[in-house]
Assembly symmetry: C2
Homo-oligomer: 89 residues x 2
């Protein structure tokens, strides 16, 4: 779920990812990227907002990027939206 | 669904909102804001990406803002995430 300073949001509860974000900042990260695809995008926004407003008062949203990624599935190629939210101290 | 240059994304199919965005730009808008709350946030990102990449080659994502809104429901106050994507020519 969390590589160096990146938290990939999937289908687990929001608080799992909030904990990952808070842990990254508490262990010294200056920036953490919250990333997600498809329907998990809404959850990624929740994660960024809850982390920032409830747990990390000194962290702000530095940048938000959206894009389209092409996935290879057993039914051929399919496009899916993606989001990358950069949180920064 | 569409006020002046704002498209509120809800639970309808993505293409309904893409059509609204394209119509706004074709009738002279320089900027269109795509807005959504909660689980519709993922669909709003789809709308922005599909509009931009398939129908409006000269339009780019100018800005993306996320926030938390407090809603009054019959079960009291509840927080919900929101997104505002500004598309611009």
């Amino acid at each position: 779920m969390a590589e160096d300073d990146v938290v990939f949001v999937g289908s687990k509860p929001v608080m799992n990812y909030v904990l990952a974000v808070v842990t990254q900042f508490n262990s010294g990260a200056k920036e953490v990227k919250v990333m997600a695809r498809g329907r998990a995008i809404s959850r990624a926004v929740d994660v960024a907002e809850v982390s920032r407003s409830r747990f990390l008062g000194d962290v702000h949203v530095k940048d938000i990027q959206i894009s389209t990624e092409t996935l290879n599935t057993d039914r051929g190629e399919t496009n899916v939206s993606a989001i990358e939210i950069t949180l920064s101290k």
